[in-house]
Amino acid sequence: MIGKLDLDPVLVARARELAARAGAPVVELARSHTTVSVERAVLRLAGVQGADPDGIPWVNRLVDAVVADVGLGHGVAVPVFDALAREQLADVTLLAQKAAAGSVRFAVPAGRAATTARRAARRAVAAGVRRIDRRRAERERLVRRFGDPPRRPWIYLIVATGDIYEDIPQAQAAARAGADAIAVIRSTGQSLLDYVPEGATREGFAGTYATQENFRLMRAALDESSRELGRYVRLTNYASGLCMPEMAALAGLERLDMMLNDSMYGILFRDINPIRTFVDQRFSRQVHARAGIIINTGEDNYLTTADAVDEAHTVTVSQLLNEYFAHEAGLADWQLGLGHAFEVNPDVPESLRLELAHALLARELFPDAPLKWMPPTKHMTGDVFRGNLLDGFFNLVGALTGQGMLLVGMMTEAVVTPWLSDRDIALQNVRYVLGAAGGLHEDFVPASGGFIQQRAHQVLGSAVELLERVGEQSLLTAIGEGTFGIMKRPADRGKGLDGVVRHEGDYYNPAVEILEGAGS
């Protein structure tokens, strides 16, 4: 690695080794447990669609019915396809409806019946995975036809009206104004819903519900924009939360291009049970890997609650863990949108040099990952003039350190949801800086042994120390004791714990079997 920071390759290797040591027991946990959301995702891939008249998805009703009869530990695939055969039904959604009405009993079959059910389940899920494969091929074709953005970083903009039919014209206007990726912010609190809402939605709090139909509508609208603009405009949504596996499946089926998917965000910031999160995360990332989706991790969140100078190393540790978990789930480096943020207090002396050191450290540790560079939020005070200047410096650091994606900062952060004019001014800022200094990274070489190099070495050193400490106990203990962020999150507490079950000896999940490339 020919780096600008002169990082010690032995120390970098040590950091990765420690991240693997901390993560391995968690992967083992994920391989030996399932959750209601993993099982619902399997059913979605097998073709269960729609919701009951109260809006509860049929996948939820079906999983609940299976759990009531035989529990979750065998996986739902075999009991469901066994019942399908016994009831002589052709359609799994029909089975879900009958099960919800109480007219179907589920069992765990043995012998020949079990083999038949497994084979049928695998066939149905394979059809779902093939649909994801087709959507991926379609993306590759469209990118070839319309082209990628002409430069890095990609410009990433957010829409958040709550109404999908308002989001669409806003997203198309943002694309026309230069956005390469559009993220539709979800309604506040959706991450804590243990089901995925259905249909097109027009009401949300500070964001729009993520539903399969909303995904489809927005992707179709951006395909139109891509055609008009002659570049493929990417669409982003959020997997993180209680429904990570299902969100991943729906994103793959509707050709979303990027998904927020962090290994610890749900635990630390949403108080979701740690085991639930790690099990859901592994499955969701396996689906993302197959779908060719780029994940965006959430390290910026650490710095909104902790100090960006004192806690800079926790960002590095989280990036290393996210990388380990992502690779383990089959994601390639080009799919790792590891996050980090410009959140050093601007009143701290040399704050810009600190930012450069942190951003360059992430760049050099993960040379092949499309890093996601997040704008200042914590030190945006409502002084929109100063905020615009801060965003300019943020853009400059992004250009100087070769970031992959740049989330456009708004000077009205913490004041209002962005106005049309706020977005326009913010994009002018980005265009000016990238236009004026887009190639400056070629000339920007920090002095050997100087402030930036020293700071980067210091942060990496602290990250390795923290990982050493984590490794002596276990990642779950470390999270329980509040090592990441200030929140303490014990493994036996948190939301969604009642949806986690250890595998029985005959557990079967055709989706995992297909995604891991085993059997056939």
Partner: protein, 260 residues
Amino acid sequence: MTAAPEQAVVPEKQIVRPYGDTTGDGMVQVSFTLPLPHDKRAEGAAIQLAGKMGIDPAMLVHARPMGDGFTFFVVYGRVNHLVDTSVVRVVERDFPLLSAKEVNAVVKRQLRRKLSVVGACIGTDAHTVGIDAILNVKGIAGDKGLEYYRELRVSNLGAQVSVPDLVAAARAEQADAVLVSQVVTQRDAHLHNTREMSAAFREAWPAGKRPLLIVGGPRFDEAMTAELGVDRIFGRGTTPGEVASYLVHTLITSRRAATV
């Protein structure tokens, strides 16, 4: 230093105007967007709006088309409005600001037990930035949070806490004060949530026994305490030190003064 005793307590009429570069020039700067394509007519419309806002003469210094059919304007000009500061009503700080050491000393000497504080973000609000700035040791801008105060026992329940859970926690912790942070304001969620919370506490405790209820957030009007059923509202820029000082003043110092 002691100030000379003042005779007059009636506030004097004090008139000010906005200040550009000369006293009394009345100059302001505004920006806005009109849903019109950029042309002479749109610029005329912007000047008309500025005129109706009391800006006269209005100088249109910048106009920029945005997307299809929108134009952004920046206008400078003189307003004819006068501001009378003697009729401005605000909530002034009505308690002395104490250091952490002083707060601890008052609690230890006069309360003779730890003062119990329970904090949370309620409703669907997941923004713990505010409550964490006040409660976490880290605090904000060098002012340490309430967890740092030795004589305070702090329980931070975090985000998206339901009102019944908050009431239960306040009971379990024998809370002297409950701090609630609300950042999300879509559809006045912060006001609805606060009213729901104060009603639940009124129901759960006899009058005069319930914990002190304090809400904070960037979009609250500090004068709305009665309307929201809380004891105090803290707005943008509140520091942990102010909250701690308010707590000891209200729960300890002023109560003793009243009963002695």
